[in-house]
Symmetry: C2
Subunit: 434 residues, 2 copies
């Protein structure tokens, strides 16, 4: 980790360095992704099977692409019952939190006969992408499916790449079943996104695609945006810890490393008002790296995207944090709640010494699918909001419309939209003739 | 308009025809748009001035690109005071409706020391694109700015193309001022979207870009999605009227034409259970077309994308309407409220004989920026939701974390994320050693 004095310039340099990780800078893969999507659109299942053979080295056919009940039962038999117990406990918390996000339809009305409102409807079909490959994350399965389920989505379709043996990892299947996936298909990468966006013989077209994935998945999601909706485009993980001299450097160092271990593009930043504290954290980090199993990934991530920033005071620290807009922010200061109130941009905010970030990854209830790479300035955590849409409702009685007809006609006429004006005028042409 | 019997096949054919209008099928302009965006990103203001000269035939400089207070005063002097009065009345309704959409931050807590919640923060900078060119729509200015203002966005930046004289239309400026735009710049097209997404010397980078535009604007918005957020990608306007024999064919015909006049790609569909009613509407449409000022546009739009569909019963009609997922839906039936309850996919629903669609375009209060081209299956009207984001809040006390520490450690370990497990374990290493 580099220790740097926090200034406007150093913040700018860091932001530029972090943005190098953005999926927007991987244009060279765009044409490959476009090719894959086109082929899936035109050839359907055949393209899926061919790409799964090519990329995942797995044979998948019309008969085997959909995960069967027998395969799910087999997965339950394989999984550690203690882990199943933990998954079920986590699910209770995740459901409870997301149920608080449910929005109601509403209306207002007036006695002269107007009703205005918003009707909330869940999406009909949602596709959940679950990565396979190097690491398997059943927690991610829960986090993507639960908000859709809580929103009331009737058809939740999951896709995930199979292993070379054509099987899906047992813990992924169990998590999907527990969370409530309705259909599960063995396909990954950009080809899975194409199948969900356009539909194939085996896989139904969905209305929205969510879930993290590698750069091909991210670019494919961006490419199909508009045909279907997508969640925000996920980038590498980030943690930013705001700490003063009251924080425990041992704990803070452990938390920084918990994100650094995700991958070599992950980012861990400490902003502190205490130089002495900064030194202690740096030492603690070095100590931990030696003993952690994912040492090599951690070291690369820290070398590339690890920063210890020394701020003049907490306000300056928070200002920089708002500029960086991290995915995860921990606030470990003398007055963490007060400091939280000043935070504008962060995917999730963890307050105080015992709210370690992994608490949110697995268990507390809030979603761990969070905006990365500065997008917390405009995106939010995955939530029930992502799986509903709202229709405006407008009702006016004859007398209510009569009262404002001339205003509408004038406004429409000023925009030269005479057929708009006409549609109001015809309703009162008898009266207005007199 | 073509009269067609409603079947699964005819619905499918119509959907395919309508999708021809999608911005996703204009790939040939993508490279032009990419070039414009690149040039704006690299050359800033200079590129803006050059493109404004090329496309809008207007001279704009560093000194004149931002609309001045004097120009706004001049616009007020030019505008019809009666229109200003109507704009102000409409603003009251639009504000009132959008204020109902405000979402609160919330939290839940338990007595053993856990707090979970969501903190709502408005976006900091929003860019509103307002088209110029053929038609000028001050109503669109209101609809795009008000929800941002109600959400609490502190910096609202508007861009709109200037005329050849380097001026912006008076009614646009007045509407922008009344609605609460903070800065207004004279630039349009893909170059304006580039300026808002990347920033130039004159125009600040924003967090989100909203507002309708031509195909270049739509493609540019899609291209910058991820750098910034965007609203949904707007397509040509649509109206779908659900009517039975109780409806007034004169009114329904007028309403169909009110959307058909927007442009040649606009779409007007009647679905009815009565063949006789269908015939009457067809006749009424023919009568109206002759006398309306935008006759030529209307005729082309009806020829290409106008349909009268005859359904067996209202349930079949509603099912097809849900498949089409229109921007605007009118329900003019014997039981319009009951039928509304069965509608899943529509941007806005207008209920009953006197809730003519233009009422929503100008005056009632709900937003007229609505999802088009079937995207009402997953997108909503522009709303206050578009201008806020939510940060998850997590607080656990030491004892609350102690109670679940082993569950988290087990879950993290099962995902081989040992540094995640470590960040929980270190907090209890003294106790757990014993």
């Amino acid at each position: 980790m580099r220790t740097v004095k926090l200034t406007k310039e150093s913040t700018k340099d860091i932001l530029e360095n972090l943005l190098k990780r953005s999926p927007n800078n991987y244009g060279k893969f765009e044409s490959t992704v476009a090719q894959i999507l086109d082929k899936v659109k035109n050839e359907g299942d055949a393209a899926l099977f061919a790409y799964t053979k090519e990329f995942d080295k797995a044979d998948v056919t019309k008969e085997t692409i959909r995960v069967t009940d027998a395969e799910i039962e087999e997965a339950y038999a394989q999984i550690d019952p203690a882990l199943l117990g933990v998954i079920r406990k986590a699910l209770v918390n995740i459901r409870q939190y997301h149920e608080k996000q449910i929005q109601n339809s509403w209306f207002t009305s007036t006695t002269d006969g107007t009703m205005l409102g918003q009707k909330v409807t869940p999406l009909n079909r949602v596709g959940v992408y679950v990565p396979g490959g190097k690491a398997v994350y059943p927690s991610s399965v829960l986090m993507n499916i639960v908000p859709a389920k809580v929103a009331g989505v009737p058809h939740i379709v999951m896709t995930t790449p199979p292993g070379k043996d054509g099987k899906v990892c047992a813990s992924t299947l169990v998590a999907a079943k527990e969370a409530g996936a309705d259909e599960i298909y063995k396909v990954g990468g950009a080809q899975a996104i194409g199948a969900l966006a356009f539909g194939t013989e085996s896989i139904p077209k969905v209305d929205k695609i969510v879930g993290p994935g590698n750069i091909f998945v991210a670019l494919a999601k961006k490419a199909v945006y508009g045909y279907v909706s997508i969640d925000s485009i996920a980038g590498p993980s980030e943690i930013l810890v705001l700490a003063d001299e009251t924080a425990n450097p041992h704990f803070v160092a452990a938390d920084l490393l918990s994100q650094a271990e995700h991958d070599e593009l992950a980012c861990a930043i400490l902003i502190t008002t205490s130089e002495e504290f900064a030194k202690k954290v740096d030492e603690e980090v070095k100590g931990f790296v030696e003993v952690l199993s994912r040492k090599e990934i951690i070291q690369k991530s820290l070398d590339n995207f690890g920063y210890i920033l020394i701020a003049e005071d907490m306000d300056e620290a928070i200002e920089a944090a708002n500029e960086i807009a991290p995915e995860h922010m921990e606030i470990v200061t003398a007055n963490p709640f007060e400091d939280m109130m000043k935070v504008k941009n962060a995917g999730a905010i963890f307050i105080g010494e015992y709210s370690s970030e992994p608490l949110g990854d697995y268990f507390a209830g809030p979603n761990h699918v969070l905006p990365t790479n500065g997008t917390a300035k405009f995106f939010s955590a995955l939530s029930v909001d992502d799986f509903i849409k709202k229709s405006s409702i407008v009702y006016y009685s004859k007398s209510a419309l009569r009262n404002i007809r001339k205003d509408i006609i004038q406004f429409a006429t000023s925009e030269q939209l005479t057929a708009h004006a006409n549609s109001i005028a015809v309703r009162f042409e008898d009266e207005d003739k007199e």
